[in-house]
Amino acid sequence: MALLEFDDVSITYHSRGVDVPAVRGVTLSVAAGETLGIAGESGCGKSTLTSTVLRMQPKSATVTGEVRLNGRNVLTLPWGQVRALRWAEASMVFQGAMHALNPVQRVGDQLAEPLVLHNRVSASKAAVRVSELLEMVGLPARSARVYPHQLSGGQKQRVMIAMALACEPQLIVADEPTTALDVMVQAQVLDVLQGLVRELGVGLVFISHDLSVLSTTCDRIAVMYAGRVVEEGPAADVFDHPQHPYATALAGAFPRVGDTRYRYAPSGLPGDPPFPGDLPVGCPFHPRCPGAMDECRMAEPPLLQIGDRRSACLRVHSTGERS
């Protein structure tokens, strides 16, 4: 049994009488200790999808399918049990490192809060654990006394990671944990996260639009476009030999130093992702796809398994069947 399973999950927002499908039929799973990267442009549904793990999606959203954490469907659990599993079984590192901490509470108190809540430890025991957690992410134990505004962006994000580890969860969802940070700090924070995940054997769902970051951090990568997974497979394969043209474009957007293929072609992808409430007929990527065929405009290609990879592109399907 996988640690986390998304089973045909669809999420629909309702805004002003219009149904906006943000996520459409996603099936993914993460095994214990495994790292899954989810890539895609803003608005492709990756954050919406992972918000369901702790049932944090907006009240107005309709969710179908199942989100199973340790085999239990989070979406139908009673609220009391949802609160009990929040942070204790799975925790999150949010994307807004700058604002994810309470500005008027000391860092130590915020770190201790889930410990006292879930593990029912005493204040003094919690303080010991807080120092331990801070040292784990490379911050001095005295940081517990400071307020969030006294920390830099990278330090705040480390505090968030320490907080996510507080109750020793089996799964951490990191939603663009390094987006707001500069490259050097980003590398440090990634190092911390990666090291701890490996050391503690925690399952990790890592959301990013940066495929190169995901390829070095994750075991597997899923690429999402317009609310669907369009490509999934082992991280190195997806990054080095992307099959779906959208994954190709995403990988090409992060040129590798020393690779002659990128020297004269710093490639970008023209156009914008479609508005989820108004998807084009056929493959939602066809208006931006350089190799779109007539068939691509007629029906949305299914996500088919070929070997250890899945892909939702007709061209890949035909070549995959031939070979």
Binding site: F94, Q105, V192
Partner: protein, 342 residues
């Protein structure tokens, strides 16, 4: 232990070497308050020099004086501006200049009027803050709910009402009596003549007299506080750190109490203290409606003269009240919001 770069020392350790950030903050606020007070004192002086009105005419009104006496009086007042300023600065708090109307030192005239105003304003502020903040939190947290709709509409109506008008309605209905409602409360004053206010029965008598004016004042300010509190709760409700608090598994009430309210209280707290300064002088209408001989009534009295020395002292007192309230608000803000003091 994963390999990471050495984290830079946080700011707290550096600033202790120089000076304590909190102490610096307090000192800076106090200096600002003192300089404002000095400015007000000077401004007050020049304001009354350019004000229309003839103090001699007022002083001699209805008295039998001849031209010579008027000339003498004028000579006594027409000293050079510098000399006047010096005199003004040296004895604003002594019995230097008497009130024209009461023929007594101004601070002796003001003294007995301070307590009724403080009692009225203090009680009303306490009630308004408690209820207003509670209402604001409750309606803002469940924005658009039944409670919010009713509370917001009622408070908007109350907020828009002129306080003297509301006071008069209250007075007519509950003190005079109207239709089936008997006049339960006294129409004015703070005590029943002859009641000893140092006994418990006397306190009850004062409370009975205060009920209507305090209610009027409290209701008006309560409306304002609840609207402000509601707005700041709504603003905080969308913040990321509340998302974090929820993801931790806290119950909704705990998310509100531990995380949302401490942040949302800050603007309301500032407003309450700012108002407190203004209310000391601003209860004029309420005191007038309910015939309470507080500072407000005294101001109206002094203005009708105009009794310049008395007015000058009152203006100084009101300005000082605003400045002190402001200082308290600043210091409290610094205490509750760590971002301000460092």
């Amino acid at each position: 232990m994963p390999s990471v770069g050495t984290p830079p020392a946080h700011r707290g350790s550096r600033s202790t070497v120089r000076s304590h950030p909190t102490a610096t903050y307090v000192v800076r606020r106090v200096i600002a308050a003192i300089s404002t007070l000095i400015f007000v004192v000077l401004f007050n002086f020049f304001l009354f020099r350019v004000m229309p009105g003839d103090p001699i005419a007022l002083y001699t009104k209805g008295r039998n004086v001849d031209a010579d006496q008027i000339r003498l009086l004028r000579a006594a007042l027409d000293k050079p501006l510098g000399e006047q300023l010096l005199q003004y600065l040296t004895n604003p708090f002594s019995a230097g200049v008497d009130s024209v109307k009461y023929n007594a030192p101004v601070w002796e005239v003001i003294g007995p009027h301070v307590w009724p105003t403080l009692l009225l304003v203090g009680t009303a502020t306490l009630i308004a803050t408690t209820i207003g903040v509670w209402l604001g939190i409750r309606s803002g947290w469940n924005r658009g709910g039944h409670f919010d709709k009713i509370s917001t509409n009622v408070t908007l109506v109350l907020y828009s009402m002129p306080e003297f008008w509301f006071g008069m309605i209250i007075l007519i209905v509950f003190a005079v009596g109207m239709g089936p409602v008997p006049g339960l409360f006294p129409t004015g004053g703070l005590t029943t003549p002859g009641v000893d206010t140092s006994t418990p029965a006397g306190w009850l008598d004062v409370a009975w007299h205060l009920a209507l004016p305090v209610t009027t004042l409290a209701v008006i300010y309560l409306a304002e506080y609840s609207l402000i509190m509601r707005a700041s709760i709504i603003e905080e409700a969308g913040q990321d750190y509340l998302q974090t608090a929820r993801a931790k598994g806290l119950m909704d009430a705990m998310v509100r109490r531990r995380h949302a309210v401490p942040n949302a209280l800050l603007p309301t707290m500032t407003l309450v203290f700012l108002n407190l300064g203004f209310v000391v002088g601003g209860a004029i209408t309420i005191e007038y409606v309910f015939s309470i001989s507080g500072l407000g009534s005294l101001t109206v009295d002094a203005l009708s003269g105009p009794d310049v020395p008395l007015l000058q002292a009152l203006f100084l007192l009101f300005s000082a009240a605003v400045i002190v309230a402001n200082l308290v608000a600043d210091l409290l803000y610094g205490y509750f919001d760590p971002r301000v003091r460092t």
